[in-house]
Every structure is written in C-alpha cells, then in structure tokens.
C-alpha cells in the first residue's frame, strides 16, 4: 500500500447527461493494493464515475491515467480501442451488481472462468479447466458445479463466480459496482469475507462503489463521499465514518440503522 507511485491517476473528470451533471470535476489517485470506496445515495454519480474511470463510459472532460505493467503512466484516452479492451480483460476486472451483466448465463461456470484465459490465447483445454476448477475452489463453489451454467446458481454463488471470472487473469485493478447488492445478510457477510481475503492475498487495488457504509468500512482503506455528482469529502475510511465533517456525510453516517 505504500508504493511510491500511484496506479491510477484521475484528474478533473466530468460527465454530463445533456444539461444534467453525472459527475463533476473529480480527481483522485489510487495506489497499488489500495481499496477506495465511493459512497453516496443513489443518483449521486457513483456509478457514472466508476464507468468513466473504467472507460466503459466516455468522460467529457478530464483525464484518467494508468500505470501499465512496464511502469509507464499512460492516459486511457491516448490508447487505441484494442489496447484498452485488452487492458480491461487482463489487468482490470469489473464486478457488476447484477451477476447476469458480468457472466455468460448460457455457458458453464468453467467456460465463464476460462473465457478470459482463452481471450488471451490459452488453447489447452486441460489447463483451462484446471485453472477454472482451482478458481471455483478459491471462491468456495463446489467443484462438481464446474459444468453447470450460472443460471442454476444462487445469487451469492453467481456473484462469487463473477469474481472468479474477473480474477483469473491476475488483474491489478478491479472495479466493483455494489458487489453485495441484493444479497441477504448472511450471504453478504460470507462474500465480504471472501473479498477481503482475496484483496489482501492478491494485493488488488479496488474501486468499490456502494451505498452500504458497512461494506465500505469492512473493505476499504479510503473513502470518497459523493453528492450531486461532486466529491464532497474524502479521507481514510475510519476518519470519514467516525468523524464526518460535511453535514451531508454526518447525515449519511447517522442514517445507518443500528440493530
């Protein structure tokens, strides 16, 4: 976490939807192995920001730079489409809120995990399958389910499969959009446990979008609070949650349901 150079540099990123603001003038750095949570209520521009940073959505102003494996910092906008897509399926991962968006629901779990390997040129069935089985174990899916399609999986299993599918190429940066959304609390807890383990084992840098402050507290080192497309407060997660400075953040923190 104490690497000297940031992995990702975002400067003055803005995105508009017609006259409306998606996100406005957002800047931050992300260091290798760091988990950054973006929190805020729905409609605050969290997902827009995530999509702009991951180049799934075109930003209208600002720059996103990424440190490639050779150590050079490169602006995503200067890369060709081919290179950007290659980056997205090797060095990056994207975990969607709805697993159906990130998985191929009609092909088996093994093929879902193996797809990225085949996309970068793996052509040995036996090896691909071995890797797939290994990853299913790591995300706690029974290995006898390797030939079942994700349609036959529960919500929690689908989400774990989506995580395995993204991590199989050993990415350095993973984007997560509400990874625990729509799961019941016990399943959520196990998934968070798993994510926390994987993140620290693999030294992943993560940008995590969530509206759930508990998730942010568990997973993230640093946190940004968004409101109306702007970042209103940023800092270490514990600091922001224990000592919120902005009135809106205070409201957000005090709205957590205490059981």
């Amino acid at each position: 976490m104490t690497a000297e150079q940031p992995l990702l540099k975002v400067s003055n990123l803005s995105r508009f939807y017609g006259g409306r603001i998606g996100c406005l003038d957002v800047s931050f750095d992300l260091w290798p192995g760091e988990v950054l949570a973006i929190v805020g209520e729905s409609g605050s521009g969290k997902t827009t920001l995530l999509n702009c940073v991951s180049s799934r959505l075109q930003a209208q102003a600002g720059r996103v730079e990424y440190r490639m494996r050779d150590g050079r910092l490169r602006a995503l906008s200067d890369m060709g489409e081919a290179e950007r897509r290659f980056l997205m399926r090797t060095d990056w991962g994207f975990v969607h809120q709805n697993p159906a968006d990130g998985l191929r629901m009609t092909v088996s779990a093994g093929a879902n995990v193996g797809e990225r390997l085949m996309a970068v040129g793996a052509r040995h069935y036996g090896h691909i399958r071995e890797t797939a089985v290994d990853w299913l174990q790591r995300v706690e899916i029974n290995t006898d389910r390797v030939d079942d399609p994700p349609r036959a999986f529960s919500g929690g299993m689908r989400q774990r499969l989506q995580i395995a599918r993204n991590l199989v190429t050993a990415p350095r940066l993973v984007f997560m959009d509400e990874p625990t959304g729509g799961l019941d609390v016990s399943v959520q807890a196990r998934l968070l446990d798993l994510l926390r383990g994987l993140v620290s084992d693999l030294g992943l840098a993560v940008i995590l979008v969530t509206h759930d402050l508990a998730v942010a507290r568990l997973l993230s080192h640093r946190m940004m609070v968004m409101k109306d497309g702007r970042v209103i407060e940023a800092g270490l997660t514990d600091r922001v949650l224990d000592d919120p400075r902005e009135p809106y953040t205070q409201l957000l923190v005090s709205s957590i349901l205490q059981v």
Binding site: R85, R104, V107, S108, A111, E115, R116, R123, Y125, D147
Partner: protein, 291 residues
C-alpha cells in the same frame, strides 16, 4: 406473344448491370480481405430467403455466357433446390449446365464441397444462411463487428470449450468455425466439418453469399483455412465405419438412407456425381449393381 417481345425480358443472368457491378465490387473487396464479411445491397430474388438468394446473386454477378454451371444441394445434383437454381440460370442466362464437377467453371453449393478436387479457375459459390460465426454467442451486431475488428476471438473457443465440457469432445459437426489467412474467423456455411480440410489452400476461388443477412465473403485460391481447436483436442473429421453402399467408397461423406420401416438403411455418398463416376469406373458397393 410477339407483341411483348423486346419489352418484358430480363437482363442476362436476371440482375441488372448496376446491381451486378455493386455485387462485383463487394466480391472484389471480399477477396482482398479474406474471410471479412462485406455488406452488400442484397436484392429481392424470385425465391424465398433461405433458398439460396445470396448464392444466386453472387453467381448471377460472376457468370458469363461461356461459363458452365453446376448446382448442388447437400452434394446432390437432383434435389429440388439444385434443379430449380440450375433451371433458373439456364432460362435467364442461357448458360451451359453440367453435373460433372470437373467440367464446371462455377459450382453453386449448399451444405457440401464436392469430393472431386477442384482446380484453378473454378469458382465455388456457397449459399450462407448465417454468415456471422459469433452470432449465437454474441447477439449484438455492433459488438461482433468490433470483435472481428480487434481480433477478439476468445469467445469462439468458449463455444468449443462448452462442447468438450458437455460431450467430452468437440461436438460441432457442421458450420465448424475456421480462421482464414491467420486473421478473420469465418463461418464456412453449414458444410460438414468433413469438408473443412478441402477449403485449406484450395486452388479454386471460394465465394460466400448470404442474401437475407446481406453479406458476401471470400477465400481466395491457395489461402490458409484453419479449423479452430484446442491443443489437447485437435480438429478431426467424421469417419464412417462402412463404405458407400453403391460405389464402395471409403473416403467420401455419406448420407443415411432409410430403406424400409423395419430398420433397414444404407449409407451412400452424398456427392451424387462422385458416386456415379465411381460406379461408371467399375466400383461396386455392398448394395450396388455393376454398371
């Protein structure tokens, strides 16, 4: 009858010259970029989509009065589709037709490549129902075009992976995807994978027309055509454990023919011209009669 002569006559080979030029331009582009699907302004033809409107338009654009045309459907010269298309070109282009593979300059085909080796100067025109090999894996046309442009073909292997995972071997037996000249992945049309090796470095020009989908693509002569596979599950073609019942051939693609309602059946060459020539040359299969 004489009153309408000179008025209601179709142009040579049915299509007007402007349309033929448009199709020829698409064909030239397709030959220049082997395996790439070139969009073209497919016309209404006097037959339904799915009956070979793409192939017919390609043939109409390249045929000349000197050509000799052969049309096959599943290898046979005497099936409805083949007979109709042959009759169509006899009528609208007044060209010579033949059933002999060796004598033909243009061979329009559905679902087969003739068994007899093709030679330089011959053109094989395929009728193609769905030109996009990635279609059933990725429904969006914008996305599949992007995948071709960026050579993102990992998904094609996902399909083959699924085959092996479910059946223990690659169970795709027809329309088996190929990579042309090391670049574009192409659907060879629904020919059996038995015929795939014949496409590789074929001396004949191979043209593919998809009328409903409005695409033309091509494999120029002597171009490498490689069937996709895995290192530990290499591409293989179908083998038959019996020879052709009529001509005794052991190296041709066989059709199953049901003989009665008591389970009687025989296997015969699907290429009728090939089978006939062998029988004329004196070969006899288990159920055949000497010629």
């Amino acid at each position: 009858m004489s009153a309408i002569e000179g008025i209601a006559r179709t142009n040579f080979a049915y299509l007007d010259e402007q349309t033929k030029r448009m199709i020829r331009r698409a064909i030239l582009k397709a030959i220049a970029i082997p395996g790439y699907q070139v969009p073209f302004a497919s016309r209404e033809m006097p037959m339904p989509y799915g009956w070979g409107t793409g192939g017919v338009q390609v043939t109409a654009a390249i045929i000349g009065p000197e050509d000799r045309l052969k049309v096959i459907d599943q290898g046979a010269d005497d099936t409805t589709n083949a007979v109709s298309i042959r009759a169509f070109f006899e009528k609208v282009a007044n060209v010579a037709v033949t059933t002999h593979t060796r004598d033909a300059t243009i061979i329009q085909t559905r679902h087969r490549i003739p068994e007899a080796p093709l030679s330089e100067g011959q053109v094989l025109v395929y009728q193609v129902p769905i030109p996009e090999p990635l279609r059933f894996l990725e429904p969006r046309e914008t996305e599949t075009r992007m995948m071709h442009a960026l050579e993102e073909y990992g998904l094609m292997h996902v399909k083959l992976y699924e085959d092996i995972a479910r059946n223990g071997h690659i169970a795709t037996t027809y329309a088996y995807p190929v990579q042309v000249a090391g670049r574009y992945v192409m659907d060879p049309s629904p020919i059996p994978k038995f015929d795939n090796p014949k496409m590789d470095r074929s001396p004949a020009l191979q043209l593919f027309g998809a009328g409903r989908e409005k695409r033309i693509y091509a494999v120029p002569p002597f171009t490498e055509v490689k069937s996709l596979d895995f290192e530990d599950h290499p591409f293989t073609i179908q083998r038959f454990d019996k020879p052709c019942a009529l001509c005794g051939s052991t190296h041709s693609y066989l059709d199953e023919v049901v003989l009665d309602d008591r389970g009687g059946r025989m296997f015969v060459c699907s290429d009728t011209d090939f089978c006939e020539e062998r029988r004329e040359a004196g070969h006899v299969g288990p159920l055949g009669v000497p010629a």
